[in-house]
């Protein structure tokens, strides 16, 4: 039922599922994550990737007994979109019997994303990313998690590399993405990072995990959409492009002399690691009705 274009192999449903599960385990083993006995906060948006992620980690936790999972969902406050995915996230956590914590931008920061981006919708995606990352960290720490698992897939990783090139962000290009946790941030790992998005979607269909979900209304504003279109066009003509883009950046980062060090200061407002006086999230919300949460 599936042609794996990069290798030319045809896979039936059973073999695709086996291969996805096997590659996820290999990725986790290669990254040394999570350490045995960890409490893992699983970022669960309710979309296809995080739903598949929770399903896979639940299966691994059940077999190994050495993982303690808690699902975390962040409600950014995007009208007409997040309500439905929240319901899906709640149903998924319940299906796997995983404790589920939700938190909203409004509760954590005093603002919904819709309010934050008013007048600057073209920045919605990047603003959302900064604040969502902060929200995940706050909630995961509150739940006593040792690390955070996110559902980024191979396509996401390749898009991020291309976006960093397009932005001229040499810091990010030369930073080894597989470095262990930076400073005070909770370590993150991405078990699906080597799985193409299409295979994640097919795995979810095979496993009966989900129905089609709405798409974020801000997706058209994002540079990521352009990067996705470029990379998908290249992947169609030159199968394996996504994987080579990601591997290439990894090799570059490891070859760079020492790489780029992580931020070493602390945010004056919330105490999180920051390369400046304020962390990205606090800088973004500066002057708004932000309620900082100190972690130390």
């Amino acid at each position: 039922m599936y042609l794996q274009r990069a290798t030319g192999r045809h896979l039936c449903a059973g073999h695709l599922a086996e291969e996805v599960e096997g590659r996820v385990r290999e990725t986790m083993a290669a990254d040394g994550m999570p350490p045995r006995g960890s409490r893992v906060a699983v970022a669960l948006s309710g979309g296809k990737d995080s739903t598949v992620l929770l399903s896979l980690l639940h299966g691994i936790a059940r077999e190994s007994g050495g993982l303690d999972l808690v699902a975390i969902t962040v409600d950014e406050g995007i009208a007409g979109y997040r309500e439905e995915t929240l319901r899906a996230a709640t149903a998924t956590a319940a299906r796997f019997g995983v404790p589920h914590r939700t938190g909203s931008f409004a509760d954590l920061f005093g603002e919904t994303l819709d309010r934050v981006v008013e007048g600057q919708e073209h920045r919605a995606c990047s603003l959302c990313g900064v604040l969502r990352r902060k929200a995940l960290t706050i909630l995961a720490r509150d739940e006593g998690a040792d690390c955070i698992a996110t559902g980024h897939n191979l396509d996401d990783e390749a898009q991020s590399v291309l976006m960093n090139w397009l932005r001229g962000d040499q810091d990010r290009l030369l930073r080894d993405p597989l470095q262990p946790g930076q400073g005070g941030f909770l370590p993150r790992f991405k078990p699906l990072r080597e799985i193409p998005e299409k295979e994640v979607a097919l795995y979810g269909v095979i496993a009966g995990l989900f129905s089609p979900m709405p798409e974020c209304p801000y997706r058209h504003t994002a540079l990521r959409g352009e990067a996705r279109a470029m990379l998908n066009a290249m992947e169609q003509r030159f199968p394996g492009t996504l994987e080579r883009v990601v591997q290439g950046q990894r090799t570059l980062a490891r070859g760079a002399a020492g790489g780029i060090p992580a931020p070493v200061g602390s945010c004056a407002r919330c105490g999180d690691p920051a390369s400046d006086h304020l962390c990205q999230a606090c800088r973004l919300l500066d002057g708004r009705s932000f309620r900082p949460v100190r972690h130390r």
Partner: protein, 64 residues
Amino acid sequence: MRVELPDGSVRTLDADGIPVEEVLARLGVNPVEVIVTRNGSLVPEDAVAAGDDEIRLVRISHGG
């Protein structure tokens, strides 16, 4: 053949015995971005579609 597009609209193609990938090409759709069913079953893009088949394209929705 009857083809349901990701947005729910339906196109009828006058074709028989062509690879699904060619169906996608005629519609301007990248196989990397969609899942395809033929008469309700998932198929790879090198599967052959017949004139009386019902093809459905589901876009792989973004955001995880």
